[in-house]
């Protein structure tokens, strides 16, 4: 009985959050006051949320590519398997999963917490109230530029990640002597389907939308003080990750099967 009530209450809360999330989206896509100002903010956000993430994306991608190559080689070290398979497997896991999904999860940690903390502290310091009082659509002004910026720039980050990951794999394979350069290069050209890149970029754009909106949601509805801003920031990352993982499964079934 008590358990049933608890479940019902939990369901109510989830529905409440989902309802309020879509309500916020409605506000975000409301009429902008000054397109020029929105555009200026979008460019700033591209720099802040995108370009400033380049370092971590590059570092992570090169190392992950190297590890993927070495692990693939040690896992399938058999005379029956041809030498190019390592390069092939590195390319496939990078393009299909590692670059779009893992990098998006990483960005959810970096960018998502940043968005929630920024918007959350604007909320608790009454800066959002100040915007509303002026007659500014605060949700649109604060959130829309971030959505546009991440959706535009994350595909580039992911393409750079793909390139560096495969490059890292090649370098690691060659340097450690486990895969010959020619074999690896043959592998990464083998049976290449451009659609896989399209699939990865579609995922990336959807994930960018999720990261930004879910994090902005947690920031925008922060109540209280600095402690609550911290909590919102953590929630933003956790919920973005969960939604990304579920969406990843759904999109993979829709787009790949």
């Amino acid at each position: 009985m008590a358990e049933g009530l608890f479940l019902a209450a939990a369901r109510m809360t989830i529905l409440y959050h989902i309802g309020r999330y879509f309500e916020l989206l409605g506000l975000v896509f409301g009429r902008p006051e000054r397109l020029g100002l929105y555009w200026k903010r979008t460019v700033e956000e591209m720099d802040l949320l995108g370009v400033k993430s380049l370092g971590i994306v590059a570092l992570l991608s090169a190392f992950m590519g190297a590890v993927i190559t070495i692990q693939t080689k040690t896992n399938i070290d058999s005379p029956l398997i041809q030498a190019w398979v390592v390069g092939f497997a590195t390319r496939q896991s990078t393009i299909l999963e590692f670059s779009p999904t893992i990098i998006s999860l990483i960005l959810a940690g970096k960018v998502g917490s940043n968005i929630a903390a920024e918007i959350g502290s604007m909320r608790v310091k009454e800066q959002i109230d100040a915007l509303d009082i002026m007659g500014v659509n605060s949700a649109g002004y604060l959130i829309l530029p971030k959505i546009v910026a991440t959706m535009a720039i994350n595909p580039f980050l992911v393409m750079i990640s793909m390139f560096l990951s495969i490059f890292g794999g090649w370098l690691a394979g060659m340097e450690s002597g486990i895969v010959a350069s020619a074999d690896f290069i043959q592998g990464i050209q083998m049976g290449f389907k451009p659609y896989h890149v399209v699939y990865a970029l579609i995922k990336t754009v959807v994930f960018a939308f999720i990261i930004t909106t879910v994090s902005a949601y947690h920031g925008y509805y922060t109540r209280g003080g600095t402690r609550e801003v911290g909590i919102s920031s953590t929630r933003a990352v956790v919920y973005s990750n969960v939604v990304i993982l579920v969406t990843n499964l759904v999109l993979t079934q829709l787009l790949l099967i």
Binding site: E33, K125, Q127, A130, D132, I133, M134, G135
Partner: protein
């Protein structure tokens, strides 16, 4: 003119405001006074529509704010200038950008004119040569003053100031009080000042509303303060020696 009728506001189980009736007249510095936590800021936020009261209504020139559609509300809001208790300057923008923000958002003038207008406002609150600083680089009192400059940038018809002189020295405090009074006279704004500084009540208070435990306890002019027999009001005003001395000098008792 702003009219408040039977306004009640609750947060969860806490009844913050109960059945407030008040009229705030144009061209006068209307003040709301009361103890800390009595609901002054909440009242101001209900009036500007940041909080939705459970009961009652707020009328701007006789039109109910909550009955207005989105565009009408936006129109009213563009005529409101508000100084928040914590200033609420935008952290990511410099002093100049903060003051220019409403102009950029809604104004039609070229940038150089906006800058001029912002400088005029900043000068009125005695902030000069601080254009490029960020709010975090200002003292609390300076943030307040920049907040006032931003609030008056658009020549508001309704000016709300939540504790404009808390955290200011007595001298600057009087400058700010006088400034608010000047603007009110000059543009015939409906000004609402929240304060618990008896000095500014004596300096500029014209139509004073005393809130106690979320209810309207007393309303009247500055001079009436000394002749009221309202126990809570007297306890509030004459808490300090200074005001008791003033009363003695004025009324002889």
């Amino acid at each position: 003119m702003i009219e408040v009728r039977g306004l009640s506001k609750r947060f969860g189980k806490v009844q913050v405001l109960q059945g407030i009736d008040a009229v705030f007249v144009p061209g006068k510095v209307n003040q709301v006074i009361g103890k800390s936590g009595s609901g002054k800021s909440v009242l101001a936020k209900c009036i500007v529509g940041l909080h939705r009261p459970e009961e009652g209504e707020v009328l701007y020139e006789g039109r109910s704010f909550h009955a207005m559609d989105k565009d009408e509300k936006r129109e009213i809001r563009q005529q409101i200038g508000m100084l928040f208790q914590g200033s609420a300057l935008f952290d990511s923008q410099t002093v100049l950008e903060n003051v220019m923000f409403p102009l950029k958002m809604f104004g039609t003038m070229p940038r150089s004119e906006m800058e001029d207008r912002a400088h005029v406002c900043l000068k009125r609150v005695n902030i000069v040569d601080k254009d490029g600083l960020y709010p975090a680089e200002l003292s609390g009192g300076m943030q307040k003053r920049v907040g006032i400059a931003r609030a008056i940038a658009m020549n508001p018809k309704y000016l709300f100031c939540d504790e404009p002189n808390s955290g200011l020295d007595p001298q600057t405090s009087i400058v700010i009080d006088d400034l608010i009074k000047e603007i009110t006279d000059e543009f015939n704004t409906t000004t609402l000042v929240i304060t618990h500084d008896m000095n500014s009540v004596m300096e500029t208070g014209e139509n004073i509303l005393f809130i106690h435990q979320g209810r309207k306890w007393w309303q009247g002019g500055r001079e009436d303060l000394f002749h009221s027999d309202n126990a809570e009001l007297n306890a509030f005003i004459f808490a300090g020696d200074l005001m008791r001395t003033v009363k003695k000098a004025k009324t002889g008792s």
